[in-house]
């Protein structure tokens, strides 16, 4: 809006300068400066708009959910239920079937397309027994040397009394622990909303794939806005700050591949499926070719290297435990 006004003003001044033969360049430059400022703000606004529309898209009820991915990509799928401890969690579906020629174990977080489905699937928020079922099936996959495919779409692990009573934290921790050196290939695909620890529990993998319009975040933009910015209306801005889009995470080195969705999975999932299938095929061929020691070492190093920090070793001359102030000095540069 403002931008257009300024542009018109500049045009006007230019005409005047020519027609009247006077030098208005200082005034025009001032306006140009305003324009640049304005344009930065404009770009930022547009980015916020774009990113938040990705967030909203990732949650769209029309978007195919993990159970749809399994239906489309896994042949002869047989569902296997239960954690052998407490319950079968309907928020997580797991079983065996074929991906191409590979027998695989496939596990997905179920999310509904309707309210009824969502009630059954607890809106895609698993309880601890869901993660324990996933881990049980993962161990079974290891026994039979079957690769594992995780399809992830969740607002997060369910925050309820029962979840805490049955040790949600412990359940997620245990998944991270045992998946980290499970001796069979693991491919994890974020298909929609990758919500925090509840998504990460199925995200430890040899290759982490994101569908182009999926998100993956340490906290929901809404939660971040209200906790950090103390203003829940700033969710869209928080979404940008959190760097939760597939391409952001690709450039941060956390996600390994982004899958082109074509017109968007909600419009036509076939292109996305096809591209994903191709990627999984390539990955399976590669990871099944590694021996288990190579596989595990690769997975460990992949996790191991995630993190941004400054290692000030080179600069530190004093004893390690007395370097506090020195580090502070370094940090400023």
């Amino acid at each position: 809006m403002k931008k257009e006004k300024i542009l018109k003003q500049i045009d006007k001044l230019k005409s005047i300068a020519i027609s009247e033969g006077i030098d208005l360049s200082s005034e025009i430059n001032r306006l140009r400066g305003m324009l640049e400022l304005e344009s930065d703000e404009y770009k930022k606004e547009k980015e916020i708009e774009e990113v938040f529309s990705i967030v909203q898209n990732s949650r769209k009820i029309e978007r195919p959910k993990p159970q749809d991915f399994i239906k489309s990509l896994i042949k002869d799928f047989i569902e296997l239920k239960g954690d052998r401890r407490f319950a079968n969690d309907d928020a997580i579906i797991g079983g065996i079937g074929y991906f191409d020629k590979y027998p695989v174990t496939a596990v997905g977080i179920q999310k509904g397309h309707t309210l009824n489905e969502n009630i059954t699937f607890n809106f895609g928020s698993p309880h601890p027994e869901g993660y324990r079922k996933a881990l049980r099936l993962a161990f079974q996959a290891e026994k039979f040397s079957r690769p594992i495919l995780f399809f992830v779409d969740t607002p997060g692990a369910y925050p309820g009394i029962d979840s805490e009573e049955r040790g949600m934290a412990q359940a997620i921790a245990e998944n991270l622990y045992y998946l980290s050196d499970l001796k069979t290939p693991i491919i994890s695909i974020i298909t929609g909303e990758g919500g925090s620890g509840g998504a990460l529990a199925l995200g430890v993998s040899d290759i982490l794939i994101m569908m182009q319009n999926a998100i993956l975040s340490v906290i929901s933009p809404e939660g971040c806005a209200s906790i950090i910015f103390k203003d829940s209306s700033k969710a869209a801005a928080a979404a940008v700050s959190l760097k939760l889009t597939s391409f952001d995470l690709l450039s941060l080195g956390i996600v390994d591949k982004v899958i082109d969705e074509g017109p968007g999975l909600d419009v036509d999932p076939q292109i996305g499926y096809r591209n994903l299938t191709e990627q999984i095929s390539t990955s399976l061929a590669y990871f099944t070719s590694l021996n288990s020691k190579e596989l595990i070492e690769h997975r460990y190093q992949k996790l191991r290297k995630i993190g941004f920090y400054k290692d000030t070793t080179g600069f530190v001359k004093k004893g390690l435990n007395k370097s506090k102030n020195f580090i502070y000095e370094l940090f400023k540069f």
């Binding site: 309820g160 620890g197 430890v204 993190g307």
Partner: protein
């Protein structure tokens, strides 16, 4: 212990319900609502002599109380935080904290406990709620790696609000990274004791905090994955008394020992010894 620990001082100021008490030489205990004399509290490792309420104590106090005199040597101080996402306000916050001399969300190093050399990590809630960013993740990971190379046990005193949101998904993945390191460490047959203090929640609880061979919790400590406000908003009801407290978790099967701080050192030494760490 002649000096007055800062964190206790702070707690007195925060928790003190009777402002008329002069100079905070006395405090009102949140456990029993009684007035406690500060030097008494200090002598008692920050535990209320009347009702055993466990006040929060600082990293330095933990070291003073647990470690043999002058036995602590810090490790990995050289790793410091950056601002990978260019997150609003993060850089300024870090600078401010470093200026105060707080090193990071966790202090790592080695100590001796009754002569037994052990690695230790102590989380610092004064550094952005003890949240786990890249530096916390990296230091914990290195601690496990150091332990597996040197065949030393690892003790971590957990106290954290969870992931460090300002580092986004990078922070989230520190859960996976530290858990993978804990697994690798465990496979070398070494001992990891996790001590959960008030509060241990979110990304830290859902990673290395719950991966100890032996999990000890301080009485009354708040321990859980989800925050209480989030749960209340989700289920639209008040949470029951004692929910997510150490004793609750013990009943639910997730804690080996709820251990009074005054018995913690002795318990740790016994556990280390039985794992043949006195050599």
């Amino acid at each position: 212990m002649d000096k007055l620990p800062d964190s206790i001082k702070k707690i007195f100021i925060d928790k003190n319900q009777d402002k008329s008490l002069p100079d905070n030489l006395f405090a009102v205990c949140p456990g029993c609502q009684e007035i406690v004399y500060r030097p008494k509290l200090e002598q008692n490792l920050g535990v209320c002599p009347l009702c055993s309420y466990h006040f929060r104590i600082s990293v330095d106090e933990w070291i003073n109380f647990l470690a043999d005199a002058d036995s602590f040597t810090s490790l990995f101080d050289e790793i410091v935080s950056v601002d990978p996402l260019n997150f609003p306000g993060y850089k300024e916050k870090l600078e401010e904290l470093y200026k105060k001399g707080i090193n990071e969300g966790v202090k790592t190093g080695y100590v001796k406990l009754d002569g037994i050399k052990t690695l230790i990590g102590i989380m610092d809630a004064d550094f952005i709620m003890g949240s786990m960013g890249s530096v916390v993740g990296e230091r914990i990971t290195r601690l496990f790696e150091y332990g597996m190379n040197e065949n030393l046990p690892v003790i971590i005193i957990c106290r954290s609000g969870g992931a460090r949101m300002q580092e986004g998904v990078v922070s989230l993945f520190q859960m996976a990274k530290t858990s993978a390191a804990a697994k690798k460490f465990s496979d070398t047959g070494n001992l990891y004791i996790s001590i959960l203090t008030d509060p241990t929640t979110g990304g830290v609880s859902a990673s290395f905090a719950f991966l100890g061979d032996i999990i000890i919790a301080e009485p009354g400590a708040l321990i859980g994955f989800a925050g209480q406000r989030v749960i209340e908003q989700t289920i639209k009801q008040k949470l029951p008394e004692g929910f997510q407290r150490a004793e609750f978790l013990e009943k639910k099967g997730f804690i080996d020992i709820v251990c009074d701080r005054r018995k913690l050192r002795e318990t740790l030494v016994k556990i280390l010894e039985i794992h043949r760490y006195r050599r």
